[in-house]
Symmetry: C2
Subunit: 337 residues, 2 copies
Amino acid sequence: MTTIRELARRSGVSVATVSRVFNTPEVVSQHTRQRILDLAAEIGYLPNGSARTLATKKSNMVGLVWDTDHRRPGWRHPFLQEILVALKTALSAHGLNLLMLAGHDAAGPDDGQRYVRAVRQHNLDGAVIIDNGTRDPAVLALVEAQVPCVALDLRVDGPTSTYITSDNAGGAALAVRHLVERGHRRIATITGPLRTWPGAERLVGFRAALAGAGLPLADSHVIEGDFYLDGGHAAMNRLLALDDRPTAVFVAGDEMAVGAMRAAQAAGLRIPDDIAIIGFDDIEVAALIPPGLSTVAQNKPGFGTAAAEALVAMLHGGDDPPKPTVLPTTLVVRGST
Amino acid sequence: MTTIRELARRSGVSVATVSRVFNTPEVVSQHTRQRILDLAAEIGYLPNGSARTLATKKSNMVGLVWDTDHRRPGWRHPFLQEILVALKTALSAHGLNLLMLAGHDAAGPDDGQRYVRAVRQHNLDGAVIIDNGTRDPAVLALVEAQVPCVALDLRVDGPTSTYITSDNAGGAALAVRHLVERGHRRIATITGPLRTWPGAERLVGFRAALAGAGLPLADSHVIEGDFYLDGGHAAMNRLLALDDRPTAVFVAGDEMAVGAMRAAQAAGLRIPDDIAIIGFDDIEVAALIPPGLSTVAQNKPGFGTAAAEALVAMLHGGDDPPKPTVLPTTLVVRGST
DNA sequence: CTGAAAGCGCTTACAG
DNA sequence: CTGAAAGCGCTTACAG
């Protein structure tokens, strides 16, 4: 481990000058700068991050808050991997690294300050929050502590926070208009958990689009789901048992939609002839299960990229946090409609 | 940000004593220890991680090397999420955090030392490597630099490294024996990339089990795939074009197996009557696509847990790295066989 | 059991 | 454009 002192000695300058070469290069003379840089490469000098962080209070690390719901540990985010890739790539382009923050399962007290503590402890510059629908107080604490935060699919509000979300209402409307074009008039929905932002907004968009098309909506045609496959299955069974069974269903999540399709098929119905189904997300399976799940696609890498951009803007940027980003959605028609 | 100095002042002791309370509590008197602890909780004191790391050279952070293959950026690990959850949970139980290391796409030179550099720079205690099949020199550099490393599905060898893998050969044998029991005698395989450890080992196990059953294996019945869906599709088409078309195929990855099933169905074959297919991994879709993909299940969280344990053993442990962990696999029979 | 002091490797006003 | 010096917040022999 060669240190700045060693590099300074070898270059015949003070440590201050070496430090400047790496921090404010424009301030040191072209000649000595080059000499130091060459020598640094030669002896493999690397500034020690901890020392730097200690001196500057900036770590160039941002926390990733991604907890599994402890009540439903098996739950998988529909496209975590795509988000992670895009996020990591975009952040590293700005010299930022991602530190995964431990959640509930961690050793120690599971209190509402655990993320704030982690941020303070590691001098994190900010945090990216992936919502898991649990309304975790520890997440809100982060926002309240005025840590620069960007949340995905979770509406947070504060002087140092913003969020990224898809155009959930618009996407739902896309789905409804598609079903209407296909001639459906009795359209039901299986929603996400209404306490989540995507769950709530997709229902809003669904209702609005139905109203816009002049179609009625029976109360029994709105069933709250949970984003899980089994939940979609159960909800569909309830719809199928109805006297005024719908001819089409907007299922507000592909995972649930897969469950719903299975329920319909198990009931002996043909898709899309007896019942049409359209989902939301465009996860990989959507294309794989027959007859192919029509769906509303989200811009998956867009979440990661937008989150990184918003965070960087907050770290370098001015007083106000960036406006929330709303990513457009697109209709993907497959065999199920 | 209250510091150790502040806490010391308030408690009426030296910073050294406060430090000991958090590092070697047994060495300070019960009474003062309690007083300091109480006060610490009251004023919300947290040791500064950077200062600690600077002084001790230990960061309690481990690097996560998980690069997407830049030639195939769309590739998703079959069960990254399960690994991540288990890894994060197990590490945090030991007070370790995971820092995601930027890969190819990062700004700056994409050289073979980039992971080693990141480790030095952040004083990482070790690294967990998730193989992406690219034989990245930067990964080997990590092993050679004697950073404590545990690799998943990548055989690394060094005084500070070990690896975790499934019983790939055993799993393949499980699949073959199942097919043989079903009465198949003309069994082909679509392998993974043979440069990868799982790809190679599953073929070894396949051959051995076939030989054990006294069955012949035509060269044309071994096709090297790439773990991708399209690759499985293409490979299956080649098998179907054969004069001595197999009656069963062991496809060494579920993603490929799904592609293979589609190819068979597109060719008008019934599964499993005309051709039986068995995969490897047990990814989520396996249960979802009709008629259900029989497969060899890997212990997904086991990778994360075992990796954490191995790493912790190396960090605290003795001279020799832990022996490689080989996770057992299990047969999952569904409709495709 | 406790304290004084040196040291970890940087950065950054302050002078010059 | 450069250097000397203080400081960032800890830990840990060394004494006592």
